[in-house]
């Protein structure tokens, strides 16, 4: 393999048969190029979906109630179901062992918020301190809500990063007073970012107790959110989470006398099960792309193999001459094989770099909600390079063996 003389011989052959080499290279380069682009987009979709999805904690269970759509036990449809603090506390006690983080929520849409002459309309959400972890929020400044904020119904607020950008473009918001709905002053204590993006960062968090007071909600709550304790086994965690979801669902249906098939009135969502579905979707997408890519490569290999066969046919006489001059069969095999590996590897690398280059170039323009950072990582590149070398060997092997079996006497007669 590292015989310099043989490499010189191969380079000479290649450089003197440019068109043939070019045609051979083209099919391989194209195959690898397509594979790289496919894999890039597959990872882009994977990243995109993951980002979309991981905006919130993946082990979240969310509970909400609306209006009944079906009659049950003599009750009419159209009843509004209202959860209260006591529902929240009952669930907390019942599922204490499974719960990791918990919060009840009370929100208003389109709350007017003013800071000096700036003004905007945002969602205002009453929450408990655990909301930070349930939302996967990270603080960029200050602190999140604390238990004492809730206990004392303090008028403090945590801004989403988008709000900070809107209302405090050049000033430090911590300690500043904002005016909510034109009548209540809140002190800003922190700013958070949320992987869910600007929509999720346009929310103002205030203590739950404060929200219930200022919006005259009494004991009412809109939603309850939990995260379940994760175990090391993903499937076990999924099962546990699903069981808890069904159990909570049943509790609420019993309490509010809701028909078992009324999916609108009581909703309990379990993100972990969704997560499992999405991860398996991502796996499927990746497998499909690999399948297409490998198929393309196989087509390329067959192409190279064909061209090498033609090459051997075309070089029958030359191979005969070489054998008459004393070339060993192994030397003939290596000559053809090395040429084929060299051509596939080199043109494959060109395809690889072209593919990676194009991905880098178009990546910024290809960002959508479901495609994010479509690039090929190092492992994938190495994998494709290994595929290339294996492909080159395969593509060269049959023609090489045929070349080695050429009888010099017949080859020399071949006019």
């Amino acid at each position: 393999m590292f015989n310099i003389e043989r490499w010189q011989e191969i380079f000479e052959t290649i450089s003197k048969n440019k068109l043939r080499t070019f045609l051979t290279s083209l099919s391989v380069a194209a195959g690898i190029f397509i594979l790289v682009i496919l894999l890039g987009f597959s990872s882009g979709i994977e990243n995109g979906v993951r980002t979309q999805f991981e905006g919130d904690a993946t082990n979240r269970i969310q509970v909400s109630t609306r209006t009944t759509t079906k009659g049950f036990n003599g009750l009419n449809p159209g009843r509004k179901l209202q959860m209260t603090n006591s529902d929240y506390e009952t669930l907390n006690v019942k599922y204490e062992d499974q719960i990791e983080y918990k919060t009840s929520l009370y929100n208003t849409w389109g709350g007017e918020i003013n800071y000096k002459e700036k003004q905007g309309s945002y969602r205002i959400e009453g929450a408990f301190p655990d909301q930070q972890f349930i939302e996967n929020a990270t603080l960029t400044q200050g602190r999140f809500l604390s238990q004492s904020d809730v206990d004392e119904s303090r008028k403090v607020a945590v801004l989403g990063y988008q709000m900070k950008e809107d209302l405090f473009p050049n000033t430090d918001p911590i300690g500043e007073i904002i005016l909510v709905n034109n009548n209540i002053n809140f002190t800003v204590v922190g700013v958070y970012t949320d992987p869910g993006g600007s929509r999720e960062e346009s929310r103002l968090f205030i203590p739950m107790t404060t929200a219930q007071k200022v919006f005259n909600a009494g004991e009412n709550i809109n939603r309850i959110a939990y995260t379940v304790k994760m175990s090391d086994n993903f499937d076990a965690a999924v099962a546990l989470s699903a069981a808890m979801r069904q159990s909570i669902d049943q509790d609420l249906r019993t309490k509010f006398s809701v028909a078992p098939d009324d999916r609108i009135a009581v909703r309990v969502n379990d993100t972990l099960e969704e997560a499992k579905k999405i991860y398996s979707l991502i796996d499927t997408i990746r497998m499909v792309f690999w399948f297409i890519g490998i198929g393309t490569i196989i087509a390329g290999i067959v192409g190279v193999g064909n061209i090498m066969l033609i090459v051997v046919k075309e070089r029958t006489k030359e191979i005969g001459i070489r054998k008459a001059l004393g070339a060993l069969p192994s030397e003939i095999i290596w000559m053809i094989l090395q040429e084929s590996i060299f051509i596939t590897a080199l043109s494959g690398l060109i395809g690889l770099f072209a593919g990676v280059g194009l991905l880098q170039l178009i990546a910024p323009y290809a960002e959508t909600d479901f495609i994010n950072n479509p690039t090929v990582d190092f492992t994938t590149s190495i994998t494709t390079v290994i595929i290339l070398i294996v492909a080159g060997t395969l593509a060269g092997f049959i023609p090489a063996r045929r070349a080695a079996n050429i009888k010099p006497i017949e080859a020399l007669r071949d006019e």
């Binding site: 003389e5 010189q8 011989e9 008459a324 001059l325 004393g326 069969p329 020399l412």
Partner: protein, 233 residues
Amino acid sequence: MIEITNLQKSYVTGNTSLHVLKGIDFSVKEGELVSIMGSSGSGKSTLLNILGMLDEADQGTYMLDNTPIKNLNEKIAAQYRNKFLGFIFQSFNLINYKTAVDNVALPLYYQKVGRKERDEKAMHYLEKVGLADWANHLPNQLSGGQKQRVAIARALASDPKVLLADEPTGALDTKTSYEVMELIQGINEEGRTILIVTHEPDIAEMTKRVVNLKDGRIIDDRLVNQIKASAHV
């Protein structure tokens, strides 16, 4: 140098078997210049192919430089060809994308001679056949006679025990043929053993011994008074 006894060869095609060589006994001493003559179908090319280890006999023994040539596999045949034999073909058989000097250097490459030494030796033999100025030309830029000279230089490059020439002048006009024969005679004068297959009597007369083949047997084996090709050029 060459000792063959009772050499037999048949070719089987379908149901018919063609007995090409029907028991050849033949020997060549070192330094001889022998021509093998015969009409087409006489078996002369088959004999040369067997001598050249490009083909194998069915029966009989073949000794080359006191080495028995038998049970050849591809690998051993290749090594023996490289070590013992130089080939000159009717159609020259140069590799057409290699320059004259690279063609001459090819047997040396398979002898694992280093590039520098290879090129030096190749140039030496090109000079010997009078083509030093054409070293970097491709075969299609050379005339027929020049191509055959390059082929002769290539056959000499590996310093073989025996040169085997299959109709070396078959594709050349008379004048060029004599020039090539003059070169071959010169090489023989230096002590090299040479076998030439030909069907041209005038070429045969330029060797030192003529062996006549007919229907797979030697019918005549005589020494001749060598005619110097230079007399005709």
